[in-house]
Each structure stands twice: as structure tokens, then as C-alpha cells.
């Protein structure tokens, strides 16, 4: 700093948005200094153990808790029938329509269990070990009932998951372009294609997955103060508070919900859980703080699952490869209960099967089916990965049928960059995008032509290791969501987001967000946004979240909504702070507010060097010694923003896979992701989201699958059998971006949290199938285990030999 500089005038900070700042929250996270829910210890705290049903479907005929009650240091034991009236219910917040059939979902089973893992008794003791010891002493008598485990069998209704409902079909939901006026009649398109074009019919399986966040779910409830304080490893403290009040009759004002640092969620903590509700109940009953932390086995068995669909798809195209129509018939496994948004997750696919393509006619039908398994709900991407997989596999099959390059067929059908904004056959309006640019960049990074040449060489040489190239040109809709649209879809809440900015007397800034980060790095990104918007140093901004006493309004974090909605709320709140500062700044400068301009953190009289920083104005507002008449001594501002549209990131992902035809083992050779997510606030954070997202999607393609046996027991019930990759199992991805700023938010950003997961699964499977297509293989079911790949080759060869 030079001595001639005026006091209080700092050099304008460099632009924060676009800087690859390291995440400021990481220091406490990676040094283990943070406070997770399970680290919380309160005086006199009690612990819970759950007794869970080993049966998938059974009537509870008796629960003997005497021995458990007499066990050392046991304080309370209760069963479902004892608390039936007071335990509340687990919410089904997206029923789709009034006709939906949904079983009651009590936190603890009262007289019947509907999946293996359902809670039937709760033990409260002075230590977790004592609670578990006592839980072993509880004797539950069951009358086993016929269970329906398989999704297709369940759809046939011969065994009922919930006999009282009379059917396993929970709901059927349709979007039809002819009926909605957004396109033609799909049956006509298919009939025409059968005559004069090409029809591709396929059935794909979306296997069941388990969200495997790092931190198990955990809840602590302290009932000793005026408010019940609930700490929970959740993505949705605000929604959970509302639902706890709404379903237990406790006034909302008597509940404070806190999501402290939360170690991952991926949708798996987007739920109000039986365990939270029962911990609350135990605290209420005993009057003492109570903690429950699940074991990994409990997490795998009874934390909700994801995906689980059968997709029947019929695509109609002209002989040249122009798609004229698509008919989608989904069967979606709900599991035993309808989760918080589980009933609607498959419906999100309705706007995504048409993806980046233009076609004439479209019909989407999804049937939600109840089974006696763990319930299914949102898992990273929720409905869009399923749809993207279906269409990207199908477009690849169309290309194969035509003998054309898969990128060429896509280009023939996609929306051109000069056609935005574009209203799709599903009725969604995409604001911006450039599929040509993303594809061109991706091909270049990938070395597309060279890899195709190598593929040909390996084929010609009959190499036991074959090479395949997979394409995924995806888009997705995120940023949930315009409240009006949600209302039309019978969704239980709005989609707005809230932010608040407090200008502290020292000029420091507290930012309060209604989003609830659980690993995404909002504290850093939000600080960057506010630093730029208010022209204050990054270090002067503190981001607060997750505690309903501090963050009073919010709708939390899921569906890649935080930046595109929460970020916009933040921008608007910051702009309000500047507006509020103007009259006082003008007063301090003896100028008219109209003559002030705001830049680089300074309110300055236009055309002069007279100015004050917004931080100085904050101090002046606090002392309030010299204010213009009638001005409130306060610059703080808040904004609640309801989005006008979804956000539509897109990109082109290219994947090269090697397939060892002798063993079926696959190996990733190269992966390029070029994503268009609009303007980027922090490239490092984006890179983390993309890399993590890619691995999660790749993992669905190659490794993960929740498997139940015929009796409904989860066979992949530990991480020995539920295969998760580590860094050792992946390669270094090449990632890059093209940029078509969003036109619906000030910063021009689009969501990135789910993009990698949505895009990568079909890219990988397309690559594997491409590697062995010349051997006669046209499909391999996920996860593409070595055995499945080997068998697909064997069967194709056998078929060819006949």
C-alpha cells in the first residue's frame, strides 16, 4: 500500500466469481475438527437401538420387551402399538394426484411390517452398547405374509405388498404430446415408421441403487429447553422441521432443526426418516437428550434406495435417422412406502426422455408399483439419469441400426444453437445451449477419430481386448423449481429460495442461506458471489446455514437448485443492501442518492473521487449518530426468489472402454466430459462436482446394485457385496466447459450437482456395447459385471453360430 492512498480506500478486490478458490470449509472438514451430528454429546444423553424386522412382509403378533426393560441401564422401551397415536407419520409429499394409492407410513410398524429392515421396537439406554445389548433381548413374534419382491410380478398384482390397498399400483402418470398440444400422436408416428422407416424397441433395466454417503445418518434431539432442538444429518432441515410439526402436532415454533456439517447426501438425506421421528419421540418420552446413529448395515438396508425401473421404449424414425416419435412405458418400483418425493421421481423423466432432440410425437407413461422392499426415493439425478440412460442407449441403437456414427445421428436430431429458446415436444422451454460447440470440443479432447481408428485395428486383428466408444449428449432439468409448476404437479411445497445479508458494525458480512450444503462448498461459492456483489473482501464474508434459528426460511439443497435459485436470492439480497446503503452514503457524502454509483465496493459520487465503502456505511448505520431523517439504521436485506424456469445444463461426454473378451472384464481407457453449465462461480468446486458425479454414474454402469433374495432380504447388505469404487478404480477424467449463460438468472449459471451422474452412465454402457457389437451384442444389463459382459458375448456367439 502506498502512503498517498486515501484512508479507507482499498484497492478494488479482484473479481471473485470465476476464481478457483479452495473451499474454506475444507480445513475443518479434513482435519476432523468439525462437528458432525454423531460428535454431539449432551449432559445426560441417552442412546437408541432399533429392533428391525427380518421379514419382508409379516404380521406382528407379539412383542415381548420385558427382558429388555430389565436390562442394565435401559431407560425406555417402546413398540409401534404403544406409540401408534403419537409417533406421527413419514410424509408422502408428492402424491401426483388424489387417486394415488399409498399405504400409511408410520415411523415404527404398528401391526404389520412391509419390508425387511422396518423398525418394530425401540430401546433407549444410557449407552449405545447397552441399548444394542438390550435390543437383542426383545422377542418379536411374526406371522409371515406372502411378500412381493420382484417389480414386474408386483405389477401383475397376484401378491399384494399391502393387502388393504387392493392393488400394488400406486399411480399411473402420463404425458402425451398430442393431448398436451406440444406435438403429434406417437402411435401414428410409430405406425408410419413401421411402414416406411425404422422402429427400435428395447427394454432397459435401471437397477436399484443405494445412496452411500460417507457419514451415516444420525440424529440428536434435546427436549430440555423451551424449543426441542433437533440436530440431524439431513439435507432438508427446513422441510424436516415443517413436517415434524405437521405430523406430530408439536408447534413449529417449538422446534429448532439444525443440520450441522453433513457428510454427503446424494438425495439419501432428502427424507424425513423413521429414525428421526422415533428419536424425537424417545426424547419427548424420557425428557432427556437422545441420540441415534445408524450402522452402515442399517443404512444400506433401511435408508432409502434409488432408481429401480423397467423401461419399455419404442422409437420411430425415418430411414435417414430423423426421429419422429418416442413412446415410453416405465415401471417404477416404489418399495414398500411412498417416500417424501419418491412418488414423483419417475415423473421427472417425462421432460427428459426427449433430451436435446426435436421430434414430432411423444408419449410418456409411468406406473408406480409397491413391493415389499426398502422404499425408493430421490438419488442424485432423480428421474433424469433413468431417462437419459434410456434415450442415450436408444439413440446409439438407432445409429447402429443405420450403420451411422452415433454422433452423426444425434446431430441430425438435436436442437441447433440458433434455435434457442426452444420449446420441446414435452412442453419445456430450454433457455440456452450449444450442443454443436460442446460436441466439437469433446471430440477434440477425446481424439475421437484416432480412437475410432484403433477400434477398427483391434477388430481387424481379432484382439482379445476390444475397444468401444460411448457417447452421451445429455441435457437435464434442474434447479427445482418454479413453485407454480410444482403446484400443478401436486408437489407438497414451493420451489423458492431465501437469502439474507447482515452488514455487521465492523463491516464484515454475514450471509444466511436457506440452502443446506452437505459437502458442496456453498460457504466458499456464496462468499465469492457476495464479495463481488458488495465489493468486499472474500475473507470478510461468513456464510451461515442449516440452523432454522438462524436460517429462518429456506427449502434446502437437492435437485441442483442451490446456486441457480439460492444464488439468485443472494444476488438480490446483496443488491438490496446496496440500495439501502445509498441514502446514508449520499448523506455522508453530501450528495444526492441519484448521483451515486456503486462499483468495487464503493458508493461514489459520479464523476468525482468522492466515495465511501459499503463497509464504512455499515458502520455509520450502526452508530446511527448522523442519519438522514426517517432512515432506518440498518442495511441488512433479504430476498426470496421463486425461479421462472428450470435450469438446463447440457454436455457431450465421450467414453472409451476396453473389454477383455476372454473374461468380460472392462477397463476405462478415456473419459471426456464437456459440460455447458453456464457461467461458473468456482471452477475448482465445479470440477469436484463433475468428477464425483461422473464416478457415481460410472459406478451405476459398472458396480453398484442392490440385490434382494426371493424372501426380500437385502443380499448386498454390506459394502463387501454392495460394490463402491475408490480412487483406485477410476481414471483421470478430462473435463472442460463450453458456456451458454442461462438467461433466467442474473449470474447466468446452471446447475452442476447432478450433471456428471446423469451423463456418464449411458456413456459407459454405450462404450461397452460398442466394443462388442461386432460380436453380435446389442445390450448388457447394468451393472456390467465381467460375468454379464462375458455371458453377453457367449450368447451372441452362440446365436451367431446357429
Amino acid at each position: 500500500m502506498t502512503a498517498t492512498q486515501e484512508p479507507g480506500l482499498k484497492e478494488a478486490p479482484t473479481q471473485e466469481i470465476g476464481r478457483d478458490r479452495r473451499r474454506k470449509e475444507d480445513q475443518r472438514l479434513i482435519t476432523g475438527r468439525t462437528r458432525w451430528t454423531d460428535n454431539i454429546v449432551l449432559p445426560g444423553m441417552l442412546h437408541i437401538a432399533m429392533v428391525r424386522s427380518p421379514f419382508a412382509h409379516a404380521r406382528i403378533t407379539g412383542v415381548d420387551t420385558e427382558a429388555a426393560k430389565a436390562a442394565p441401564n435401559v431407560v425406555d422401551v417402546f413398540t409401534g402399538s404403544e406409540v401408534a397415536d403419537v409417533q406421527g407419520v413419514i410424509a408422502n409429499a408428492w402424491p401426483l394426484s388424489a387417486e394415488q394409492k399409498a399405504p400409511d407410513h408410520p415411523p415404527m410398524a404398528v401391526d404389520r411390517v412391509a419390508f425387511a429392515g422396518e423398525i418394530v421396537a425401540v430401546v433407549v439406554a444410557r449407552s449405545a452398547a447397552e441399548a444394542q445389548d438390550a435390543a437383542e433381548l426383545i422377542d418379536v413374534e411374526y406371522d409371515e405374509l406372502p411378500a412381493v419382491i420382484d417389480l414386474k410380478r408386483a405389477a401383475a398384482d397376484d401378491v399384494l405388498a399391502h393387502p388393504d390397498l387392493g392393488t400394488n399400483i400406486s399411480s399411473v402418470w402420463t404425458l402425451d404430446s398430442a393431448e398436451g398440444g406440444t406435438g403429434g400422436n406417437v402411435d401414428e408416428a410409430i405406425a408410419e415408421a413401421r411402414e416406411n422407416g425404422i422402429v427400435i424397441e428395447r427394454e432397459y433395466r435401471q437397477q436399484r441403487l443405494i445412496p452411500a454417503f460417507m457419514e451415516p445418518r444420525s440424529t440428536v434431539v434435546d427436549p430440555t429447553g423451551e424449543q426441542y432442538v433437533v440436530w440431524s444429518a439431513t439435507q432438508i432441515p427446513h422441510i424436516a422441521r415443517f413436517l415434524l410439526a405437521a405430523t406430530t402436532g408439536t408447534p413449529e415454533s417449538k422446534i429448532r432443526y439444525i443440520a450441522p456439517d453433513v457428510g454427503g447426501g446424494f438425495g439419501g438425506k432428502l427424507q424425513t426418516t423413521p429414525e428421526e421421528w422415533l428419536t424425537f419421540l424417545a426424547a419427548k418420552r424420557t425428557g432427556k437428550p437422545v441420540k441415534y446413529t445408524e450402522s452402515r448395515s442399517e443404512s444400506l438396508m433401511s435408508g432409502h434406495h434409488g432408481r429401480d425401473q423397467w423401461q419399455r421404449l419404442t422409437l420411430a424414425a425415418t430411414k435417414e435417422g430423423r426421429v419422429t416419435g418416442l413412446k415410453v412405458d416405465l415401471l417404477a418400483d416404489m418399495g414398500a412406502y411412498i417416500g417424501i418425493v419418491g412418488g414423483g421421481v419417475p415423473v421427472l423423466g417425462a421432460w427428459m426422455f426427449n433430451s436435446i432432440y426435436k421430434w414430432d410425437a411423444y408419449r410418456f407413461t409411468t406406473t408406480q408399483v409397491l413391493t415389499n422392499k426398502t422404499w425408493v426415493d430421490a438419488y442424485r439425478g432423480a428421474g433424469r439419469p433413468e431417462a437419459t440412460y434410456g434415450i442415450e442407449r436408444l439413440m446409439t441403437e438407432l445409429a447402429a441400426e443405420l450403420g451411422k456414427d452415433p454422433l452423426e445421428v444425434r446431430e441430425m436430431n438435436w436442437i441447433k444453437h440458433d434455435e434457442f429458446p426452444f420449446t420441446t415436444v414435452a412442453g419445456m422451454t430450454y433457455d440456452s445451449g450449444d450442443y454443436e460447440a460442446a460436441t466439437a470440443r469433446s471430440k477434440e479432447l477425446f481424439g475421437y477419430d484416432e480412437l475410432r481408428a484403433e477400434q477398427q485395428r483391434r477388430r481387424d486383428a481379432g484382439d482379445p481386448v476390444q475397444l468401444g466408444i460411448g457417447v452421451s449428449t445429455y441435457t437435464e432439468m434442474c434447479g427445482l423449481a418454479p413453485s407454480r409448476v410444482l403446484g400443478q404437479l401436486n408437489y407438497g411445497a414451493g420451489g423458492w429460495e431465501h437469502a439474507e445479508i447482515r452488514m455487521l458494525p465492523t463491516g464484515k458480512v454475514e450471509v444466511i442461506t436457506g440452502t443446506s450444503p452437505h459437502g458442496q462448498g456453498h460457504e466458499t461459492a456464496w462468499s465469492q458471489i457476495v464479495a463481488d456483489r458488495l465489493g468486499v473482501p472474500f475473507e470478510d464474508v461468513e456464510v451461515l446455514h442449516g440452523d432454522t434459528q438462524i436460517s429462518v426460511r429456506g427449502l434446502d439443497t437437492y435437485g441442483s437448485r442451490s446456486l441457480v435459485i439460492g444464488g439468485e436470492a443472494l444476488v438480490r439480497a446483496a443488491d438490496k443492501v446496496v440500495e439501502r446503503a445509498k441514502p446514508l452514503a449520499a448523506h455522508m457524502l453530501e450528495a444526492s442518492p441519484d448521483d451515486l454509483e456503486f462499483a468495487g465496493g464503493r458508493l461514489q459520487v459520479r464523476g468525482t473521487d468522492q466515495g465511501v465503502t459499503i463497509q464504512e456505511v455499515a458502520t455509520a448505520a450502526w452508530t446511527a449518530h448522523d442519519l438522514p431523517d426517517g432512515l432506518e439504521p440498518n442495511l441488512d436485506a433479504s430476498a426470496t426468489y421463486d425461479p421462472v424456469n428450470f435450469s438446463f445444463p447440457h454436455g457431450t461426454h465421450l467414453c472409451a472402454m476396453e473389454v477383455d473378451t476372454e473374461t468380460g472384464r472392462v477397463r476405462m481407457r478415456k473419459y471426456v466430459a464437456v459440460d455447458d453449465i453456464g457461467n461458473i462461480v468456482n471452477p475448482l468446486i465445479v470440477s469436484g462436482q463433475v468428477h464425483g458425479g461422473l464416478v457415481q454414474g460410472i459406478s451405476q454402469a459398472l458396480w453398484e446394485e442392490a440385490v434382494h433374495d426371493e424372501g426380500g432380504t437385502l443380499v448386498s447388505g454390506t459394502l463387501v457385496d454392495y460394490l463402491l469404487p475408490t480412487a483406485a478404480d477410476t481414471i483421470s477424467f478430462e473435463t472442460d466447459h463450453t458456456t451458454s449463460p442461462s438467461t433466467t438468472n442474473t449470474l447466468g449459471t446452471k446447475g452442476v450437482g447432478e450433471a456428471g451422474t446423469i451423463a456418464s452412465t449411458p456413456a459407459v454402457v454405450n462404450a461397452i456395447v460398442d466394443a462388442v457389437r461386432h460380436l453380435g451384442v446389442t445390450d448388457i444389463r447394468m451393472p456390467c459385471s465381467p460375468e454379464r459382459v462375458w455371458r453377453a458375448i457367449q450368447q451372441a456367439q452362440k446365436g451367431a453360430g446357429q
Binding site: 437383542e136 473374461t663 458396480w703 463387501v720 483406485a728 459385471s785 465381467p786 455371458r791
Partner: protein, 287 residues
């Protein structure tokens, strides 16, 4: 989850440990590195009343040269075995197998003896010790006895170790100058093997003079692929010759069926991976 309550003993000599086993009989469980036992206890699949920790018995640790063979103490950790120069020099096949056993954390805790005593058919040490004709030294109330590898593995999770006995050491004959390879087939790196092939060969010029081949997870115990060994002896170390011999790899095996593959697939894998393992052990790359 927490294990059910148990009493804990940490003797400092083998005699004390054996005495404790005699006293508590089938109410007792030995604790070595705990990498298999603790998950079992924590998931409450087993609830012994006594846990007898061998961790303080110094004589059970370490690798030493005993002339024509090596002695690996039962409580030597996988990580110690992995980095032991004697093992590398005289029993390369063991080093190769341990490199791929679990992850660094598990290798620092888990022990050579614990893994063998546990006798998981998917364990990575059974096939190499079987192929190398190791000898298992077991101590009980009536003294010490030596059991050849071929008799040590009895069944799934069952060995020749009696209820009141302890595995104290494993003697591995020296295979100086033999090439070795452990071909482990997994879907993710930290996985137990779907199957694995342990192969070690002595070359005489370009000819395979002798070969030893063991298979992991091709039955309820590790399996010796004797038909392959016999077929290999005296053959040139060429892909064709090795492939012909390896075709016998699955002879007489009864591999399991599970989420990672059925028995038929495992039998097929055994032939492919045996060919690869033998060629790699012979220093012949590629397929």
C-alpha cells in the same frame, strides 16, 4: 454396532494363551489383527464370552530364515510380510499375493496367521501357501505339531487347528529363483477375489521345469491345480503350451455361485487366468 459384551485377556506367552483356551473352551475366540473377527463380533454374528488377544506375544511376530525354509510368525502383519526381503527372495509368490491383499489399512492390522486360520475361501494366502507346500505349526495343550498345507484347510472357515490350539507359525520352503505371479480377479480394487490363481514356475531355459499352481475361491478351501502342474512340467513356456495345460485348471473344482459370478463362469475364468498367471510367472508377458 457394538459387539456383545465379552471378557478380554491379553497373554504374553503361547503357553498362557493355550491355557486360557483350555479353560474357556468354545466360549473363547482368539483375536489376532481383528480384521475378520471384529466385523463378525460387531455385526453380532458371533458372541464369544472370552476374547484372547495374541497381540502381546512377541514370539509370534516376524520372519526368519531357518535354512531350507522361512518361518513366518502367525502374528506378522500383512504389511510386514509384504516388505520383508526374505519373503521376497525365497517365496516371491507370497509377496505377490500380499501386494494385492485388501488395502493398506487392513494390511497394517491383519496378520498372516489370522488370515490363514480364518480360512475364508476367498482369502489370498491359502492358494499360495498351498502351492508352496507350506507347513503349519500348531500348538495346543499336548504340545506342538506340524500340519502340511494339503491337510490344513478342511472346509469353509475350517482348518486343522483344534479348539484349544493356536497357529504359531507357517514354514515356507525356499523357492529361490522361481518366477511367481498372483492373478487376482476383482471388480473393484479393494474386493476379495472372485477367483485368483497363484502360480510359481522354475524355468530351465525356455522350458518349464516345474510349476506350482493354487486356486483361490474355486471351492470351499484353496485348491491345488495338480493337473495343470503335471501338464506344464517339461513344456515350453509358450502361450499355446501353457494354454493347453491351463485348460485343466478347473478340473475337479466346485466353485461357489454368488453376486459376482456363477460356478460355470468361475470355471471358465480359472482356465484363462491360470494361463495368464503361469505365463506371467515365467516372465512371458501378454496372453
Amino acid at each position: 454396532m457394538n459387539p456383545a459384551p465379552f471378557e478380554y485377556l491379553a497373554p504374553t506367552t503361547v503357553d498362557e494363551a493355550v491355557a486360557a483356551l483350555v479353560e474357556h473352551g468354545d466360549e473363547a475366540k482368539i483375536l489376532a489383527g481383528g480384521q475378520s473377527l471384529l466385523p463378525v463380533l460387531r455385526m453380532r454374528l458371533n458372541a464369544p464370552e472370552w476374547v484372547i488377544d495374541l497381540g502381546r506375544i512377541e514370539t509370534l511376530r516376524g520372519v526368519r530364515d531357518a535354512g531350507d525354509h522361512l518361518v513366518i510368525g502367525a502374528m506378522t502383519t500383512h504389511d510386514q510380510v509384504l516388505h520383508d526381503p526374505l519373503v521376497h527372495e525365497h517365496a516371491l509368490l507370497v509377496t505377490k499375493a500380499v501386494t494385492q491383499l485388501a488395502d493398506a489399512q487392513v494390511r497394517h492390522r491383519g496378520t498372516f496367521g489370522g488370515a490363514l486360520a480364518h480360512a475364508d475361501p476367498g482369502g489370498d494366502l491359502g492358494a499360495p501357501t498351498l502351492a508352496l507346500d507350506a507347513t503349519f505349526v500348531i500348538t495346543g495343550p499336548s504340545g506342538t505339531r506340524s500340519v502340511p498345507a494339503a491337510e490344513f484347510f478342511v472346509d469353509l472357515f475350517e482348518t486343522a487347528i483344534g479348539e484349544d490350539e493356536i497357529l504359531t507359525e507357517v514354514q515356507v520352503p525356499k523357492y529361490d529363483g522361481w518366477g511367481a505371479h498372483y492373478e487376482k480377479f476383482v471388480r473393484v480394487s479393494h474386493q476379495w477375489p472372485i477367483i485368483a490363481v497363484a502360480a510359481t514356475v522354475r524355468l530351465d531355459g525356455d522350458t518349464i521345469a516345474e510349476a506350482r499352481v493354487g486356486l483361490t475361491n474355486m471351492g470351499s478351501t484353496p485348491v491345488r491345480a495338480t493337473a495343470v502342474e503335471e501338464a506344464l512340467a517339461g513344456q515350453p513356456a509358450t502361450p499355446d503350451a501353457v494354454q493347453q495345460a491351463a485348460a485343466h485348471a478347473a478340473d475337479g473344482t466346485s466353485p461357489p455361485t454368488d453376486l459376482n459370478g456363477d460356478a460355470e463362469y468361475r470355471r471358465h475364468l480359472a482356465t484363462v487366468l491360470t494361463r495368464r498367471a503361469v505365463l506371467a510367472a515365467a516372465g512371458r508377458n501378454g496372453t
